[in-house]
């Protein structure tokens, strides 16, 4: 695509956003309800949220770069970048947040059958089904492959027993993509990547209360859950091959790291100093620390842009998401430490209206998980050592 075509697309996009993105959807996200997740039980917070979601769904902009037949808009990487830039320019919110978009979708696009793509991807992009991810287990954190949840082969189905932990929003999700051991004798080639309905008999969830006081995660229990091997013609109940789910999981972990580095990370173009200094004068040493943070954070925005450009053109190092995840999450933790320092005793308030229900303090505590979930910083450094720097015995 020529530069002039791209500029025409930019003009068109700007016009479309102007016409379709309501003013309320250009405000910063303030609470959980400002994020639309879709799903069977979803409700819109207000008309603006509904109108914005529906406009994007019709246009394919819930997943702009996915193929049109699966609900996307079929944009090229260059067009996708233009759309992101134009959305960022007006602070447009994401119309649909979804583990289906971020994680299952990429796995199905890579490993799925045509039947799976037709059904599951369209359900995701239309906001009909909300997915959750069943990876970690109580005894398997960083050492994920040691997981024990077992599916006993019963011919046309499995009977699954076990427990998952850190399942994001499992209590609100409709379906789960879940790693299940199907061969006890084969550590890496004995796991199957299963798909099943959270309403199935034997599935139960229990929210986990975090130090932030919030409960975005659950424990998920599976007690004799029947998982069919097929949901119809060309729609297997698993992704990839039976016993080769680890390949899918590894592929997806890469995406999860990208997602965390892109959304939860320090990837913000706004200067922290500009925000915090509005609350009152900063102590000189704190101002200096914030300035040093802004240097790192603004530099990281350039790295994010480069990373996305390389990813979309296939030029990047395959292990680079690990570096992004490491740097982005460490930055975000630092950012929140500085937000607390700048906020002083106001930032300590836990429930008051003035503090927006303790947003600063709860957010600060929540970010401590950034460098644990989806692979700890230490695991990321191990991967960089081994796969990028090629250090011995790592």
């Amino acid at each position: 695509m020529s530069d002039s075509d791209l500029e025409a697309f930019r003009a068109e996009t700007r016009q479309w956003l102007e016409a379709n993105c309501p003013p309320e959807m250009r405000e910063p996200v303030r609470d959980e309800e400002d994020v639309y997740w879709g799903g069977r039980n979803a409700s819109f917070k207000n008309d603006a949220q509904k109108a914005w979601f529906e406009a994007c769904r019709e246009k394919g902009y819930t997943v702009p770069e996915w193929p049109k037949e699966y609900g996307g808009a079929g944009l090229t990487p260059a067009q996708g970048k233009v759309l992101r830039q134009e959305m960022a320019a007006i602070n447009a919110r994401s119309p649909l947040s979804s583990f289906g978009i971020w994680m299952l979708g990429p796995a199905l696009l890579h490993f799925g059958t045509e039947g799976q793509k037709q059904r599951f991807l369209n359900e995701i992009t239309n906001g009909e089904i909300r997915w959750c991810q069943g990876y970690s287990e109580p005894g398997s954190g960083s050492d994920l492959v040691s997981m024990q949840t077992f599916g006993e082969d019963k011919g046309d189905h499995w009977v699954v027993n076990g427990q998952k932990i850190w399942t994001s929003y499992a209590d609100e999700a409709d379906w789960i993509f879940c790693l299940v051991r199907t061969d006890k004798d084969n550590k890496y080639q004995g796991i199957t990547f299963m798909l099943f309905d959270m309403a199935s008999d034997g599935v139960s969830t229990k929210p986990i209360k975090l130090i932030s006081g919030n409960s975005p995660f659950c424990e998920t229990f599976m007690d004799d859950v029947t998982v069919p091997k097929s949901y119809g013609e060309d729609i297997p109940g698993y992704v990839g091959e039976i016993n080769r789910g680890w390949d899918v999981a590894k592929y997806l972990l890469g995406h999860e790291r990208e997602m965390i580095s892109a959304t939860g990370g320090g990837d913000r173009a706004t200067s922290l100093g500009a925000v915090t200094s509005r609350q009152g004068a900063l102590d000189p040493v704190l101002r200096a620390e914030i300035a040093m943070f802004d240097v790192d954070a603004l530099a990281y925005t350039a790295m994010s842009e480069k990373f996305m450009d390389e990813l979309k053109s296939g030029k990047g190092h395959p292990a680079q998401p690990n570096m992004m995840k490491y740097a982005g999450t460490e930055l975000n933790k630092r950012r929140n430490e500085l937000v607390m320092a700048a906020g002083g005793s106001d930032a300590l308030e836990w429930e008051s209206e003035a503090s927006n229900g303790g947003k600063a303090a709860r957010g600060w505590l929540r970010t401590k998980a950034n460098s644990i979930e989806g692979g700890t910083s230490e695991v990321m450094l191990n991967v960089i050592s081994k796969r990028i720097l090629d250090l011995p015995g790592a």
Binding site: G273, L282, M292, V295, L298, E305, K306, L389, P392, G393
Partner: protein, 379 residues
């Protein structure tokens, strides 16, 4: 514009990498001239080769006989200069002075540019007054005198000043020392009467001058741009020089990191390669991450400068500060991980540490630029 090199830029990077790695290597250039106590601090033969490669005039407009390239391309050359610690007047002559001359009249360009492009002459840039970079304050004065000016004052950290046939001097022609306006740039020839150099060797073996101007008589045609209108030119020169020195710093960081990672794969202690120790692996991986980010923001800043973006000044300061942090980490970790031999002159890792130290100070260190980031962000 994607944040990676296009085909032409990738080819330039390959050419520059090969050239600097061979002709401009530490052994052939930095050590060679240093060990002979060379008073220039760089090799003129290599500088002629720079000209043959088209590097000397790469930022000069095509209409003026140059290649009309931008900061991204200059950054590609500078990154290779940094990796190989190649001593050359490229940054001072072909980036700083060339950017200043771009704003000159046709007479000024005609007088100076062809010798810069051919590699026959090198030029320097005189900005700093005192040991820290504070270009907001300029006390060196040029008073009207007949049809010309009379220049008095003192400039410091004039890199390769004594070897330069001409020095671009930022001087005050009106207002008080801290005024933004009232600055004029002058092209001062080497033989100007009343100009004297105290040329000193720096920690990285490069040469820099303390230059004194004692009633130096200058013709009116020494003026670059407009009288009293030099601040905008100076800002452009500073931006080009800062993003350029950031690119060189990225090269220094990469050179030191590559050398160190190689060493981790060779050195054995306690019967194992030291690269097997997780304590070192994690530090090396963290360093990799910092250097990658520094490199990305440097290319981004160069693109913004070339595109004339309003964000160019901010991101240039971000790049200069980030590179200083990353390259500083690279050389400190480099020396530490090399252990005892890292302290020896025979090993190159210490040379990276020295060059980094000089580059940190050049056109503002990380503290100066973090302060700029705060000011430009409104706090």
């Amino acid at each position: 514009m994607p944040l990676y090199y296009d085909d032409d830029q990738a080819m330039l990077a390959e050419t520059a990498s090969q050239f600097m790695g061979e002709e401009g290597s530490i052994k052939n250039q930095l050590r060679h001239w240093r060990d002979r106590d060379c008073k220039d601090g760089f090799g003129h033969a290599l500088w002629k080769q720079f000209a043959e490669m088209g590097f000397t005039g790469m930022l000069v407009d095509e209409d003026d006989g140059g290649l009309g390239m931008g900061q991204v391309e200059a950054g590609i050359v500078l990154e290779e200069i940094g990796r190989n610690l190649t001593p050359s007047p490229f940054l001072s002559s072909s980036v700083l002075a060339a950017t200043a001359l771009k704003h000159g009249s046709n007479d000024v360009k005609g007088r100076w540019l062809s010798d810069l492009i051919s590699g026959d002459k090198v030029y320097a840039m005189a900005i700093d007054e005192g040991p820290k970079h504070r270009p907001e304050r300029i006390a060196t004065r040029a008073e009207k005198s007949g049809n010309g000016f009379r220049l008095s004052g003192k400039k410091d950290f004039v890199v390769y000043g004594a070897s330069s046939e001409m020095i671009v001097v930022a001087a005050r022609t009106s207002g008080s020392n801290d005024d933004k306006d009232g600055i004029t740039l002058f092209a001062v020839p080497q033989d100007a009467s009343g100009m004297s150099h105290d040329s000193v060797r720096l920690v990285d073996s490069s040469m820099a001058s303390h230059v004194s101007f004692d009633n130096v008589e200058l013709d009116g045609d020494a003026v670059i741009g407009e009288v009293d209108g030099g601040r905008t030119i100076l800002d452009a020169v500073l931006m080009a020089g800062r993003v350029g020195s950031a690119a060189e710093g990225v090269g220094v960081a990469r050179g030191a990191m590559d050398m160190t990672v190689d060493y981790l794969k060779q050195r054995k202690q306690f019967g194992r390669l030291i690269g097997e120790f997780q304590a070192l692996q994690h530090r090396a991986a963290h360093l990799y991450s910092e250097v990658e980010i520094a490199r990305a923001v440097t290319v981004k800043a160069a693109q913004l400068v070339d595109g004339g973006s309003e964000k160019a000044e901010l991101m240039t300061s971000v790049a200069k500060a980030k590179v200083a942090k990353a390259a500083g980490l690279a050389v400190r970790e480099g020396v530490q991980m090399h252990g005892g031999i890292g302290m020896t002159d025979e090993y190159d890792i210490g040379l990276y540490m020295k060059r980094d130290r000089a580059l940190q100070e050049f056109l503002g260190d990380q503290y100066y630029h973090a302060g700029r980031v705060a000011e430009l962000s409104g706090y």
